[in-house]
């Protein structure tokens, strides 16, 4: 296995990334590893670094990155929103293109966690994408009214309401109305490519609420899946796995991290079964 740390330009941004190539050449494909936006010890996250080693043993190359403004990538970013992924998707696309070109390999798959899974789903439309494993993908977006209400909630008015039980009760119906969450278009949009690519959604059973898996999210998925053909449906899987939350992989005990890698790896390897 060889590791190549690089800086890749993406429009006005530049990102630190690590391309990992297996000893076996040429690789069967490239796996784009997309982290969430939390605390990451390694470039691209602990999960990405661990997976890159194991994927190399499977004859697969991979690339992991720090999004611009995080970790070792230059830039300053004041907030992260899973509904705003245009810039990070361009960064991910840029490092993927660099890896594919340098290693002269076309098919690719993706592993995304939380925020990173939204980027992964947005790249599934590429005809060379064989599949994506999404850990704790957020299914729902906060709508316009929801954003407004969050602004109020986090301000002084919100503090007053939180501190007063009577006000809390009186405003409960309005809170439900303004909770305003809707299915993210990129999530259901990716289902349109199940004729060719596979999608696997994984959530951690422990702290499932932290993995963004709610009753409402489940209904959204059920509704999207209902419109699929039997063949397309066979290419989509949703699993609840023990442990978690998957959104904070870096903080899980090493043994549990290893178990998750063991679960993810066979899915990714299977995406390349016809390419090797």
């Amino acid at each position: 296995m060889s590791e190549f740390p690089v800086f890749v330009a993406a429009g006005a941004d530049r990102v630190a990334a690590v391309v990992t190539a297996p000893d076996r050449q040429p690789p069967r494909g490239v796996v784009l590893l997309l982290a969430g936006t939390g605390r990451h010890i390694a470039i691209g996250s602990t999960l990405s670094a661990r997976l890159s080693e194991r994927l190399a043993e499977e004859g697969l190359a991979s690339v992991r990155l720090d999004y611009a403004g995080s970790g070792d990538s230059p830039g300053l970013v004041s907030h992260w929103d899973p509904a705003e992924i245009a810039a990070t998707t361009a960064q991910a696309r840029a490092v993927l293109d660099v890896a594919r070109e340098a290693l002269d390999v076309k098919p690719f798959a993706e592993v995304g966690t939380c925020y990173g899974s939204r980027i992964a789903l947005s790249l599934v439309e590429d005809p060379s994408c064989t599949g994506a494993v999404c850990l704790a993908p957020p299914i729902l977006d906060v709508g316009g009214l929801g954003r407004m209400s969050r602004g109020v909630r986090d301000g002084r008015v919100g503090a007053l309401v939180r501190s007063n039980a009577t006000l809390r009760r009186a405003l409960a119906p309005a809170r439900r109305l303004l909770g305003g969450r809707k299915t993210a278009p990129r999530v259901v949009g990716a289902f349109a490519h199940l004729d060719r690519a596979r999608l696997v959604f994984l959530y951690g059973a422990r702290n499932v609420h932290e993995d963004h898996y709610s009753g409402r999210a489940q209904k959204s998925i059920d509704s999207a899946v209902a419109g699929l053909s039997a063949e397309e449906r066979s290419r989509f899987e949703l699993h609840m796995i023990a442990g978690g939350p998957l959104t904070t992989f870096d903080g899980l005990p090493p043994e549990e991290q290893e178990e998750i890698v063991d679960i993810v790896l066979p899915f990714v390897a299977s995406f390349f079964e016809t390419t090797g």
Binding site: S2, E3, F4, P5, V6, F7, A9, R14, A16, V18, V19, A21, Q25, T37, G38, R39, H40, I41, A42, I43, T46, A49, R50, E53, G69, S70, G71, D72, P74, L76, V77, S78, H79, W80, D81, P82, A83, V98, E101, A102, L103, D104, P138, D141, V142, G146, R150, D154, R206, N207, H212, P245, F249, D250, G251, L252, P253, P254, E255, Q257
Partner: protein, 304 residues
């Protein structure tokens, strides 16, 4: 493979003409865990003193990477070559290990000297600052820039266990508040937010007492404290006294920040799926303070 090596090798470095610096992944990897070494430097001729930035040993290192990168870029833009250590997550780095970090920092100093640095200063945040001070005793270095360094290792080691206990309780995990401490005692190891802490590693950290271990370093040093009032804490005062006693030129400064979360802790304010960075302003202030002090010392040294 040779052509891909060539293509990817060309992308190890980028230049930022506006900031007046470059960044480059060194070919050499550092320490037993083969950490990446990231070099930042000026686009003009470098000053004689270079800097090595040492990450801390615990899980908080993930929350300090951006700060270390900002410090490196500010120093590089001010004319200094800078090496920063980027642990990867091979077997060595799944563990909290003081010897590993010491070896990496020593090799980073060697890397800078190999690139032509005549003097090397060391920088670090929290326990990274502690490691820097320990290496300053082992190697001939000329400066120390420490942000909230841990003076007593025992306090830091206990804090690692306490934070793990709190995280378990908050994560609805089946654990009592004393869990990690008794787990370490009974099993000889305990996971601390994804990193393995062994009894041996715990003792190595707990044995550190900078006031006792600093015996010879007499170079210039900057001690930066962060608090809502902008006042450096009492531990920094003790360290200042010790460094001055050894004949060093010590600058102590405080930076005021409301500290949404303690330095080294997860610093995003979460609003549903949105995450707001509460550390941007402080990280930039710290980077600016370190670079300004390094420039001031360089000017004083040139004048002398």
């Amino acid at each position: 493979m040779s052509s891909s090596r060539h293509t990817l090798g060309a992308l190890r470095r980028y230049e930022d003409p506006e900031g007046g610096f470059f960044e480059e992944f060194a070919e050499r990897r550092l320490g037993p865990g083969r950490a990446f070494a990231l070099i930042a430097g000026p686009l003009r001729e470098a000053r004689p003193r270079a800097w090595a930035i040492c990450p801390t040993v615990g899980p908080e290192q993930g929350n300090l990477r951006r700060l270390e990168a900002l410090v490196a870029r500010r120093l590089a833009g001010s004319g200094f070559d800078v090496a920063r250590i980027r642990p990867d997550v091979g077997t060595q780095h799944a563990q909290i290990s003081l010897p590993t970090r010491l070896a990496e920092l020593e090799e980073a100093v060697d890397l800078l000297r190999g690139r032509g640095a005549r003097e090397v200063g060391l920088a670090g945040v929290l326990f990274g600052g502690t490691v820097a001070a320990l290496v300053a005793e082992r190697l001939e270095v000329s400066g120390l820039a420490l942000v909230e360094p841990v003076v007593r290792g025992r306090q830091y080691a206990r804090e690692l266990l306490r934070r793990e206990a709190v995280a378990r309780l908050m994560g609805d995990e089946e654990a009592d508040g004393d869990g990690p401490k008794s787990e370490l005692a009974s099993a000889g190891r305990v996971p601390i937010r994804g990193l393995q802490l062994t009894q041996e590693a715990y003792e190595a950290i707990a044995d550190v007492d900078l006031i006792k271990e600093l015996r010879a370093f007499a170079g210039s040093s900057l001690l930066l404290g962060v608090s809502p009032a902008g006042e450096p804490g009492p531990a920094l005062g003790k360290l200042r006294d010790r460094l001055a006693e050894l004949g060093g030129d010590v600058t102590v400064a405080g930076i005021a920040d409301p500290l949404y979360a303690p330095l080294g802790e997860y610093y995003y304010r979460e609003a549903g799926l949105l995450r707001y960075d509460t550390r941007l302003d402080l990280d930039q202030k710290l980077a600016e303070a370190v670079a300004a002090w390094a420039l001031d010392r360089a000017a004083a040294s040139a004048a002398a």
